[in-house]
Symmetry: C2
Subunit: 253 residues, 2 copies
């Protein structure tokens, strides 16, 4: 019998965010000098809006000879990490592959977020809005890691922190106008106030569900928003609140 555990949105989120430099398995690592050169080029472009010169690179990584810089740039080009336009000043360009190491998409989005106040919310998986169903530990494999929703921060007051998205399966929340197939944007939250719509994990049966949450004496009432369905009563020790619904998105066409 498998060990029961809560679907771990936090771990999935951390995994989503921490994509380090993926070194090619079949090649030995870059020399320290070559790595320093790449780092310098990246930083210089971010800071100045243009690539550095051979001499600037040399000064930065303590190479006194332009031909040594040239030699190392040739090596990096051979590795597919940069391109060079000949006979022009500042003719360097980092390739897509090199930029992966700097997580250019996240960096670009991070800079856009700063300027237009937007947040990228990963779509981590499904949440059932119906009878609680058992979840496996691989529940997060449903969606490609690259699936995400970009949202304007001004649509999400207090959007700091680790938002994530879940796709709704089932119609138990239909009276809260959350339908099967909708996407809900969640903010991690370990407690809930009465009436809040939350995702919860139930230790008996290792199940998860989306419901309105109520403290009711010594019990917790998980209330569907569907008049055809009965509330679920659980012992507080058996329920873990995982996140609160901040926003609902629905495609209609």
């Amino acid at each position: 019998m498998s060990d029961f555990c809560a679907p771990d949105y936090q771990t999935a989120l951390v995994r989503y965010r921490s994509k380090g430099l993926g070194l090619m398995k079949t090649q030995k690592p870059l020399s320290k000098r070559q790595q320093s050169i790449l780092d310098y080029i990246w930083d210089y472009i971010q800071d100045s809006g243009r690539p550095p010169t051979i001499r600037e690179i040399g000064a930065a990584v303590k190479i006194s000879s332009t031909s040594v810089v040239n030699y190392n740039l040739t090596k990096l080009k051979e590795r597919g990490l940069l391109e060079r336009d000949a006979e022009v000043s500042r003719g360097l360009r980092l390739t897509e592959r090199a930029m992966e190491a700097y997580d250019t998409v996240s960096s670009t989005i991070a800079s856009v977020v700063e300027s237009v106040r937007m947040v990228k919310v990963p779509l981590l998986g499904n949440i059932v809005a119906g009878e609680p169903i058992e979840v496996g530990n691989s529940d997060f494999s449903t969606f490609d890691e690259d699936d995400a929703i970009e949202l304007s921060v001004n649509m999400l007051p207090d959007a700091k922190g680790n938002l994530y998205a879940l796709k709704v399966s089932g119609d138990s929340m239909i009276d809260a106008m959350v339908n099967d197939g909708d996407i809900v944007i969640m903010r991690p939250q370990a407690t809930a106030r009465n009436g809040e719509m939350v995702a919860v994990w139930l230790s008996p049966g290792d199940t998860t569900t989306l419901k309105h949450f109520y403290h009711e004496g010594s019990r917790i009432r998980l209330q569907p928003a569907n008049p055809t369905m009965e509330p679920i009563y659980v012992d507080p020790a058996e329920v873990t609140v995982q996140g609160k619904v901040m926003m609902v998105l629905r495609q209609t066409a």
Copy 2:
């Protein structure tokens, strides 16, 4: 009595998108040459990842002398549209102000969209989901021009073209799970198939509303999704379909 006319989302959208270089009231316009130089610099940076040289600019805008290019760059600098680092190759940089003209946010987002497939949808105004109400010609002034929603293109199949967003007032579409306060993403559309949820303008009374649309013999039936409300029957000549609902967004917290 004012002339009646449809609330013109297209015009509002065009106005939203066509933010030309914001000319200072107290300054005369840039010369054509100066504008061409700015355009070329912008394009060159997008294409090559570095600024152009003085000679490249000259070749592009048909200036044979580097000192004329230099003179014009000095003028652009005086206007606050670019910065120059002296004594370095490719020492140009467009200022924030200059980039506004190229809608740097849209351009940056456009480039991000290419990599993460996202679209920026302006929030243009309100739409009533209730009894049709009269709209004034200044209906679009409700929202700041900068209000917009960023959405992942993969959430919006066929997102090409001029999407816009409207904020819903009223609850006549509540059975379609569209509630007061929700935001609907619209795609401009002049016709409608039966059952589609659309924004329409009604020439009698100069009103607008959000409803399900049905052709019914010689009439159009505009059907609320609220059992407490009656459908509206109108002559086809009196109704203009303006857009179809592609997505619904709701903030819940």
